[in-house]
């Protein structure tokens, strides 16, 4: 099958790729572009390990076609850190040991970024609700939520008790 030419912005840089119509954005990111940070946990929208931000919306890249990325701006886990400097969210996940096997972590960090971009001052309930689409088999979520609440306070410039 003929491939389609797609031009998009990925992590702030313009990107061009060829993809088959039935390839998902996740397939394209991992297999065509080589950005393997986004994970495929289920391929059916259930786990959130493939979460990316497309034009300011948090989505599951496993349920979006690669060709639909045309003209869009996409942020993946690879676009969160600033060079070698971890993003405060990443730093806080480390400090709180909010990960064990790490498979869900890229998705959770991207989802947290999307949450704090939209709502810098979430309540714990809001944070839990926002992150409900990201499953984690290891941490029991508690450390994740504590890391998220703490980094939110840091990023707002508040001193945390």
């Amino acid at each position: 099958m003929a491939k389609t030419y797609v031009s998009a912005t990925i992590n702030g840089e313009s990107a061009e790729f060829l993809c088959e119509t039935q390839q998902t954005l996740l397939d394209v990111l991992r297999d065509v572009i080589g950005l393997t940070g986004s994970k495929e946990g289920c391929g059916s929208g259930d786990c959130g390990a493939c979460s990316v931000i497309v034009d300011d919306r948090l989505v599951c890249s496993c349920l979006m076609l690669g060709v639909e990325a045309e003209g869009k701006s996409i942020t993946t886990i690879e676009g969160i850190a600033n060079g070698d400097t971890l993003h405060p969210i990443q730093q806080k996940f480390l400090e709180y040991a909010a990960l064990q096997c790490g498979f869900c972590t890229p998705g959770l960090i991207v989802a947290t970024k999307a949450l704090l971009d939209e709502n810098p001052n979430p309540t714990e309930t809001e944070a839990r609700y926002w992150l409900a689409g990201n499953l984690c088999r290891c941490t029991g979520y508690d450390k994740v939520i504590r890391a998220v609440m703490d980094v939110a306070a840091d990023m707002r410039g508040e001193k945390v008790a």
């Binding site: 099958m1 389609t4 088959e20 119509t21 039935q22 998902t24 391929g43 059916s44 929208g45 959130g48 979460s51 919306r57 948090l58 989505v59 599951c60 349920l63 979006m64 076609l65 060709v67 639909e68 989802a111 609700y129 926002w130 992150l131 409900a132 689409g133 499953l135």
Partner: protein
């Protein structure tokens, strides 16, 4: 997933023309269709992408709400006019799926999401809905999540949607366009009972497109609510859900709209409950008595008989909340 071509129409007419070709499907948010295509449940040769069409508006006015078919679930749920004027709709959407899915999925696609019956979604099994005439393993199989209302000897799968249940108490009307022009259909007439053709799920004709959903404003719509019971709090399809809209005159119920999800082969209106509420004072005993009637004609299995009890309790709780 088998290969398909993707057509990007420049207007509604060309979308309808393309979608009228054989083995063709529309794709909106893709959240159900791509999952079904990955599992070879849907095997389209051509997809007609609705995304390029300017059809995602949410228009709220004093007389009503009009959702264009590509409006995202998350945008409708968060719209201040919807939260205020049609709370049951906002609540049903917020109780649906995960944030990621709500950000992608459209209200048009939502009405056409397919059942979550595990046999339907696994090509290793027979299924009358997937392969007409092949049989229904659910009837004597794992059917805890299956329907108790509107079932047939051919299929007992639930319609899994939440939003359509809310729309049943709001008198929503769907706007359709096909090769032969436009038509309007009440939400209650859109989905079909399985009978002996469970593979035909709606009254949509080949290539017909949902363009919008019109919902009138009313006192009952403003006094409405959705209660969803599910196996886990994060996100999950309904075991049972209840939508209620009440038109009250002081403490008296002038008229009531009640519908249920998770129990029917289509979004299910409960006229037996509505009749028991009309003209009555909204007292505890009235609500209790009315909720106790829910599920007239139910046909349960050993595994899903609990749904009838749960339905009555869910309806009661929803009535108490909305009447309070």
């Amino acid at each position: 997933m088998q290969a398909f071509t993707l057509t990007q129409p420049s207007n509604i007419q060309s979308a309808v023309a393309a979608a009228s070709e054989p083995q063709t499907k529309y794709i909106a948010g893709g959240t159900d269709l791509l999952q079904l295509a990955k599992d070879d449940i849907e095997t389209p040769r051509q997809l007609v992408d609705l995304e390029p069409l300017p059809m995602s508006g949410i228009h709220a006015g004093p007389n009503g709400l009009r959702l264009e078919a590509l409006a995202r679930m998350s945008d409708v749920a968060a719209h201040p006019a919807v939260v205020h004027g049609w709370p049951v709709l906002s609540q049903a959407l917020l109780a649906s799926a995960s944030p990621q899915i709500r950000n992608m999925a459209t209200v048009g696609g939502n009405l056409l999401q397919r059942t979550r019956c595990g046999y339907f979604r696994d090509t290793g099994f027979a299924c009358n809905k997937r392969v007409p005439g092949s049989g229904c393993p659910a009837i004597n199989g794992e059917n805890r999540m299956h329907a108790i209302l509107g079932v047939s000897d051919h299929c007992i799968a639930t319609n899994p949607g939440d939003m359509a249940v809310a729309m049943m108490v709001l008198d929503a009307e769907l706007e359709l366009i096909g090769r032969n022009g436009t038509r309007k259909v009440a939400i209650g007439d859109f989905h079909r009972l399985p009978a002996d053709t469970p593979h035909i799920e709606t009254i949509l004709r080949p290539g017909e497109l949902i363009t919008g959903i019109a919902i009138p404003a009313s006192a009952a719509a403003r006094r409405s609510g959705y209660l969803k019971v599910r196996d886990r709090a994060s996100f999950e399809f309904a075991v049972v859900s209840a939508a209620v809209a009440l038109d009250m005159d002081g403490g008296t119920i002038r008229s009531a709209r009640v519908a249920a999800g998770g129990v029917g082969t289509k979004p299910w209106r409960l006229p037996e409950v509505e009749a028991a509420l009309t003209g009555k004072p909204a007292r505890a005993a009235t609500l209790q008595e009315a909720a106790g009637r829910a599920g007239e004609g139910a046909k349960t299995t050993a595994m899903n008989a609990f749904k009838l009890v749960l339905l009555r309790r869910a309806v009661l709780r929803a009535l108490q909340t909305v009447a309070a």
